[in-house]
Symmetry: C2
Subunit: 337 residues, 2 copies
């Protein structure tokens, strides 16, 4: 079964992924924070039936999962694959999740809001992601009747989501903008127009992944289309800046760094998660710039070798055993390159 | 043409090489520091004739080289191969050198003393080295008549060489004794009995080679045999300590370090001499301990990729070009491993 990260970066080497989520609540039930156990059961039942009853081919591809039946390690692995939020994972007992086969679509039932719909796709695909989420939103709204106010828009548990309830983000790989300090300037500028730039993975450690998430903060008084258009313009601008900065790199110095990193990954016997992230970031730069074979997918490796994802494959092991297995997995994955 | 370092370490993984030198002076001429140009010519002529006239098969394998005819870069490369001293290289103009095909035998004419005979062999071979140097000493003494005093022994320019005029040393690879601090203790102990331990290559830099030279300091009031026997006992003791310390290493951690280092050397595009030395030291530990293929000869690489040795192969190039060529040479040398 292919995942969103199987294809990330092939069509777009700097934008890794696109994510959109909608926050929705049923007008017939109180917000999750004050729901009774019985109301929680009703909520899950209603969502399950809404999907089963929609009779669209699209809805038939979705699978309903009772989170109480999912082992703790697999729940953590879902967080690592970005298909559920860390918050949802911590209170998963009694909750439910709807996902598509490739996990690009996920619906958390009973997160902060009754429903959190998420679409995650590889590369920069805001239009496609929005088309899917809009369709799903309509299917669900037809039977669930989402709480909506003419002035405020969609009603949400937290006021910061009022309005469109839409949060869109793109994850970008920006090693050179990071090195030049351009990231800080970008972050400052976009915050003035309602967007944020946030580092993901290993930020604050020496071996950062240079992965940044750019997302809209404003959901009120703005249309979905406007929010997405603005995000696309911002992401494209950042992308062009990163590309231009890469052009200025010294070729042999860059090749040296990239190949040394490949050498380390192809030979290490012990590899912790933090170090792996930093090394794979350099590999990503190498594949993007055509120095390394583009069939290497460092983002896929990065996700599949996270602690719980690794234990899905190898069973419950200690952190030090994980570091040894991780090194072996990565040597195997890279042996042909 | 094979060199002393072609076979170093195959029979003995910790002792890299054995070196013996004899300081000798002709009673018929003043010491080099006060010789006239004419006397210098006489000295060279006498040594040349002593070898040519000895009529032994052994002496016939030796080649007389007029140092004035040797390009400066090649003179520096000779220092890098350890066949002449740095001091001799700096005042080589007008001097002469006698060497064997494999360069294991070299005779500097007009270094600090009239004659400095050196034997350098791979591994721990004190007896063999002494047998060769003794034979050569006899051949030369037969016609040159070395200055000798019944009480003081062989007379030398510097009083520290009076007596036997013999300095014997073994170069040992001691990465673990270095790491544990054992080296300092050894150094302190052997100094009390007239021996010194000195780091070679990159000491003081972070990327030391962990190569140490253990040599006798006392030449007066002691026989050649005693000096060599003591050195052998000391070297064997240090070797056993290093071996024992290696037994205690964590296998996977060591493998991780060794293979990462191999990965770096097989992939780097820029490699300066200091870094190379540190990396090859780890490779040497890897080959010694059977982690890497023993056909890798890191000491040979270390010598052949020194700046002037590298320029022997690639011509006169800048330091930054050297670092690129060095990386390429080493990738090529290690590609099968």
């Amino acid at each position: 079964m292919s995942s969103w990260y199987d294809n990330c970066g092939f069509d777009n080497e700097i934008v890794i992924s696109t994510r959109i989520r909608l926050a929705r609540n049923l007008s017939s039930l109180p917000f999750p924070s004050i729901m009774t156990a019985e109301q929680n059961e009703q909520l899950k039942q209603k969502v399950k039936e809404a999907i089963a009853g929609s009779n669209t081919p699209f809805a038939k591809t979705l699978k309903y999962i009772d989170m109480s039946a999912v082992p703790k390690n697999e729940i953590n692995a879902m967080v690592e694959r970005h298909i559920i939020s860390p918050e949802f994972s911590k209170k998963a007992e009694g909750k439910a999740l709807v996902i598509s086969d490739d996990e690009s679509i996920s619906i958390m039932i009973g997160e902060e809001d009754h429903i959190r719909i998420q679409i995650i796709l590889g590369g920069l695909q805001l239009e496609k992601a929005y088309a899917i989420i809009e369709q799903l939103d309509s299917i669900l709204d037809a039977s669930l009747h989402f709480a909506f106010d003419e002035n405020l828009g969609y009603l949400t548990e937290c006021p910061t989501n009022l309005g469109t309830g839409l949060r869109a983000s793109v994850m970008m790989h920006l090693p050179i903008s990071e090195r030049t300090g351009e990231i800080s300037r970008i972050s400052e500028n976009v915050s003035k127009i309602g967007f944020t730039v946030r580092g993901t993975y290993g930020e604050g450690t020496k071996a950062a992944a240079s992965l940044y998430q750019i997302s809209n903060q404003v959901t009120l008084g703005i249309s979905e289309k406007n929010a997405l258009d603005n995000l696309k313009i911002i992401a494209t601008g950042i992308l062009e800046k990163e590309k231009a900065a890469r052009e200025g790199l010294d070729k042999i110095t860059l090749e040296d760094s990239v190949f040394r990193t490949l050498g380390t990954l192809k030979n290490a016997r012990i590899l912790n998660s933090d170090e792996m992230i930093g090394l794979l970031s350099m590999i990503k730069l190498g594949t993007s710039m055509g120095i390394l074979n583009r069939e290497i997918n460092p983002i896929k490796l990065l996700i599949e070798e996270k602690p719980y994802m690794l234990m899905k494959k190898h069973g419950e092991v200690s952190p030090s055993e994980r570091d040894i297995l991780r090194a072996a997995d990565i040597r195997e994955a890279l042996k042909e390159f």
